[in-house]
């Protein structure tokens, strides 16, 4: 009995990982020939992640250390323009901070916030979706109705509202400490619905399949069936939605930081940099806006292309 149980459980898992792996490898090979843009996007996304992880070692200047700032170097244009300096490849801002270093640290903040937010949203969405799909009935109806109401509101409005309320609720001295977690939670709460709906739909379909019935007959605990048998089989669409969700979260975070209600100025993200640069757009220091903006678009674009590619490769039935 115990043998049969492990055999079935293990069988599903290996089949799943081997299958997914095969699809990924084959899709990757096809795409390499078919679309060089995807390869560039993959490299770019990978590059941004590496940059984010190793930011303190890669950045030429430490922008968070006020002691290294030199006001004499303020508002220096990029190196190829007159007045540029090789020490500041992309120029400096009004405080003499190096733009390139600012962008590297900013991308780190952006990726951290959006990555953690989407991870939380995926966990929450998957849990709710599995629960609704398995239990059905009234709890399912209530949760899905909530999801539907939330879906009729644009995500950006929900994030603004939760973030605004969160900031009002915590005291002023806590603001700078609490701003990032509040922002992460707000973005996560605006993203869980799509994942929950997808997971619910697919787990309802999987629930009646023979391998699940077999597992139930064997007396395996429902939680184990959900996590070890059903989840691996419905994970592909979740992966796609989560990847595209990261691109969306990056834009949402940047937008909020640009509006001045996102991350605090002490921990600048790409959106904060653009917000500062915006004040100098009219006086002609365009590099303070254009370079962080370019980095932001490239980051979001590469993640979007990777998400699209994952969708084509895994070909899950997305609505």
């Amino acid at each position: 009995m115990a043998n049969a149980r492990t055999r079935i459980a293990g069988g599903t898992r290996t089949r799943f990982s081997a299958h997914l792996g095969r699809r990924l490898v084959r899709g990757c090979a096809d795409q390499l020939i078919d679309s060089p843009a995807t390869v560039v996007a993959l490299l770019l996304a990978f590059g941004f992640c590496t940059m984010a992880v190793f930011a303190p070692w890669l950045a030429p200047h430490d922008t968070s250390d006020v002691g290294t700032l030199d006001l004499m170097q303020a508002l220096r244009p990029p190196v190829w323009l007159e007045g540029g300096d090789w020490a500041y490849l992309l120029g400096t801002d009004d405080q003499g901070r190096d733009m390139l270093s600012g962008i590297i640290f900013g991308a780190r903040t952006s990726l951290l916030v959006s990555g953690v937010a989407v991870l939380l949203a995926t966990l929450l969405g998957t849990a709710v979706g599995l629960f609704c799909g398995w239990v059905g009935g009234r709890p399912d109806a209530v949760l899905m109705r909530i999801a539907e109401v939330q879906l009729s509101f644009p995500a950006i409005l929900i994030v603004l509202l939760i973030d605004g309320l969160g900031r009002t609720a915590v005291s002023t001295d806590l603001h700078n400490v609490a701003a990032v977690p509040v922002l992460i939670i707000a973005i996560a709460l605006s993203n869980w619905v799509q994942i929950a709906r997808t997971v619910r739909g697919s787990s309802m379909a999987e629930k009646n399949k023979e391998y699940v019935q077999a597992a139930r007959v064997l007396g395996i605990h429902p939680a184990a069936i959900l996590l070890r048998h059903i989840l691996p089989n419905i994970f592909a669409p979740v992966l796609v939605i989560a990847t595209l969700g990261i691109a969306g979260a990056i834009l949402t975070e940047a937008t909020l930081s640009f509006l001045g209600v996102g991350v605090p100025p002490t921990q600048p993200s790409l959106g904060t940099l653009i917000r500062f640069g915006n004040n100098f757009l009219i006086s002609g220091e365009w590099w303070m806006t254009v370079f962080p903006g370019l980095a932001l678009v490239l980051l979001a674009l590469s993640v979007n292309i990777v998400g699209d590619w994952l969708r084509d490769v895994l070909n899950p039935k997305l609505s």
Binding site: A37, E148, V149, L151, S152, F153, P154, I156, L157, L160, L161, D163, G164, L165, R167, T168, A169, Q194, R197, T198, I241, L244, A247, L251, A254, T255, F258, L259, G260, V261, G271, I274, N278, L281, I282, W286, T289, V290, G293, L296, V297, A300, L301, N304, I305, D308, L318, S319
Partner: protein, 328 residues
Amino acid sequence: MLAFVAQRIAQTGLVMLTVAFVAFAMFHFIGDPINNMVSQDATAEQREQVRRHLGLDDPFPLQFAYFISNAVHGDFGVSYRLSLPVGALIAERLPATLELVFVAASIALLVGMPLGVYTGLYRRGVVSRLLLGLTLVGISLPTFLTGLILILIFSLWLGWLPSFGRGEVVDLGIWSTGFLTASGRRALVLPSITLALFQLALITRLVRAGMLEVLGSDYIRFARARGLPNRLVLFGHALKNTLVPVMTNVGLQIGALIAFAIITETVFQWPGMGLLFLQAIRFADIPVMAAYLMLTALLFGVINLAVDLLYGAIDPRVRGESSHHKGS
């Protein structure tokens, strides 16, 4: 059909009530409104008196009922920050936002839908692939950055169009419009393109995806097998069936325009509701936040209801049971 309409209206009403409750709860659970009304050295007795006078010691459901009844009459209280009635503040800002959203929605729909149909029909063509790549850039460009880039190019470098404000407006009693003056129309160009671009790209992709799904279905293949002319197959069968399920999504996107107007209005200093709401968030001006929230919920409700009714009128299958096709 009548039952379908009634069900839809009831559902919208329920959503409105939920939003009203959230808005009301904001007052109740965040800070004590009395603090905003009495002087700092007021005694506990004076506070209690104000509380009784305002009915803040009434039971929660009764207060909620008062709140709803006031809101229905357009009374949303007084702004903490500006000390002006919120209803009047919003009424003054509403035309600016609605005009901006209307123009942006027209651009997004009139350009996005044909592009979606085109890229769906000729999906292997060079132009289609180029357009599809551009839509990917479009959904990777945050609205505020689009605005800044347009300002940089068309206002600062070329000097063709204004970078902020509404230009001259004509006052028509309760409505102030920028449509009637040349400077008002010029001022609309950059903000409306900024607001439309993201949704335009999204609508193109949605329509294209819907088109591809329909073109791959059996009845299209049968229609072709029957030897129907290509034109008839595409425009008689495919297009109509694509537009039906895509409509709900497009409706949601139009609703999203109202939310994204917050960002566009900030970039262009457009004197609309979104700018008001953002300032309210910064200053924790809860009456303004609550009123904005309920008003936008009403607008979303009306848009979704209109789409649903249109949907019900076109597709007889949905009249019985509520059916939504939402997603990316």
